[in-house]
């Protein structure tokens, strides 16, 4: 199972990539495999402010709807509209074109509290 070394992870299976104070968020390869065929993605309202752990997006397979939580607090500044039209990107490229939303991180220190790749790999093994 792919767990890129340069990302941070939540125990609820979101990944986060930090670039300055902008965090890109998606779900892990492990999460998409557990969900199987993603058929619908509901993204947050742009400009909304979220706290760490807030349900921020919804990813649905035929089987079930799953809440996606903000790994850290911040303001939603960008959405991946491509996954709305092609939800299968979440399955085929979870760490790339299947990203979900971007946050302007309120407190960068929160990012350090997330799991690193080693800890996340231990969590799912």
């Amino acid at each position: 199972m792919t767990v890129p070394a340069d990302l941070r992870y939540s125990s609820s299976h979101e990944w986060l990539r930090l670039d300055g104070d902008i965090a890109t968020v998606g779900i892990t390869a492990h999460a998409q495999e557990a969900l199987t065929d993603v058929v619908f993605v509901e993204l947050p309202a742009p400009g909304s402010n979220v706290d760490a752990g807030d349900p921020t997006a919804v990813v649905e397979s035929v089987k079930a709807a799953s809440d996606i939580y903000a790994p850290v607090a911040g303001e939603v500044i960008d959405l991946n509209l491509e996954v709305e039209t092609d939800p299968s990107l979440v399955n085929s490229d979870p760490y790339g074109n299947g990203w979900l939303f971007k946050l302007r991180v309120r407190n960068p220190a929160e990012v350090g509290e997330l799991l690193d790749a080693t800890a996340y790999r231990a969590l799912i093994s």
Binding site: T36, V39, F40, E42, V58, E60, S61, V62, A65
Partner: protein
């Protein structure tokens, strides 16, 4: 049976285009015999077992005294005074208790649910797969069944709308039969695909679409009710529903565009926002790639083309009442 073995979409498509196999060992098997048992079953069930020749089965319903649905099942006739019933897993005890409570002294009623394994092989290639696996046994005609030399029962029935068969055998023989059908090319399929396949056909699921709160007439299953045979349990309500009409009707609802997958219990609204009820079943149809579902709607909202909205979390998705079924197999 797991929800899925690999992916609901893949398993669904395997059944629609090739052949899939479902483990239905959880379903219940009752055996009924004794003089007068045909007349007795006719008092307990809505369809007419006297229309069955030995070797044939029919879809039927068992009702409570108010005409509400206890269970839907298939009854097979094996002889003049011999029948077997395949009932829903969740209803085995309740069905058996109900039947035993109405038992006539001459009737022998046996619950053999724990003794039988069952599997359903479904799809356009199912009959070829059967011929390859059981070359000495002709596949029975639709709704018919046959018994193998080893004591398995094979019926030309299913819950997907595709051609296929159901295979019931003593539990110990189940794994070998399962492996044989897989080796012949059947894709293992789980509960998830079973649900999407049956809902595309508008086949009801007891507990979701059928309940003691609704009659077969409200559920649109009048075809499986014989009001001309001697009196049966629940008949009075059905006569009233048939003559005076019903206030609600189980309706097929389809999204007009794309949207979040509809699911059971999501609210169904009129186009002016009035809440009309909730979905009894709902899925994203893997064949149509849009949302489909069923709901008991007030009769005036159940006409084909009636505009509706399905509420998913805080969003509303436009939908309309459509003709059953959602999909007709090729």
């Amino acid at each position: 049976m797991p929800v899925q073995y690999t992916s609901i979409l893949d398993e669904h498509r395997a059944v629609r285009t090739k052949a899939g196999i479902f483990d239905i060992s959880h379903m219940g098997q009752f055996f009924v015999s004794g003089p007068g048992c045909a007349a007795w079953l006719n008092r307990l069930l809505t369809n007419n077992v006297e229309h069955l020749a030995p070797g044939h089965g029919q879809y039927t319903l068992m009702l409570n005294d108010q005409g509400g649905i206890i269970d839907d099942l298939i009854v097979y006739r094996s002889g003049e005074a011999d029948f077997f019933l395949v009932v829903n897993a969740s209803m085995v005890e309740e069905d058996f208790f109900w039947m035993a409570a109405h038992q006539d002294p001459d009737i022998v009623l046996r619950n053999e649910s724990a003794l039988w394994a069952g599997m359903a092989v479904q799809g356009p290639q199912a009959s070829a797969l059967f011929a390859a696996t059981c070359p000495d046994l002709p596949l029975p005609p639709p709704k018919g069944y046959a018994t193998t030399a080893a004591g398995a029962i094979v019926s030309r029935t299913g819950y997907t709308g595709e051609d296929g068969f159901e295979w019931f055998c003593p539990a110990a023989a189940g794994p070998a039969a399962w492996n044989q059908f897989i080796a012949a090319g059947a894709t293992p399929c789980g509960l998830g695909a079973r649900d999407t396949l049956r809902l595309e056909m508008c086949y009801p699921l007891n507990g979701n679409d059928l309940s003691p709160a609704h009659s077969p007439i409200e559920a649109g299953l009048g075809f499986f009710v014989d009001l001309d045979k001697p009196a049966f349990i629940g008949r009075d309500t059905l006569v009233r529903h048939k003559t005076a009409g019903t206030t609600v009707k189980l309706s097929a609802i389809q999204y007009t565009g794309t949207g979040a997958p509809p699911r059971a219990h999501y609210p169904v609204l009129a186009d002016d926002g009035t809440v009309l009820g909730e979905l009894s079943s709902g899925v994203l149809s893997p064949t149509l790639m849009t949302g489909i579902g069923m709901a008991y709607l007030p009769t005036r909202f159940s006409k084909l083309g009636t505009p509706l909205q399905i509420k998913v979390r805080e969003r509303l998705f436009p939908a309309t009442v459509v003709k059953k079924p959602f999909y007709k197999p090729q």
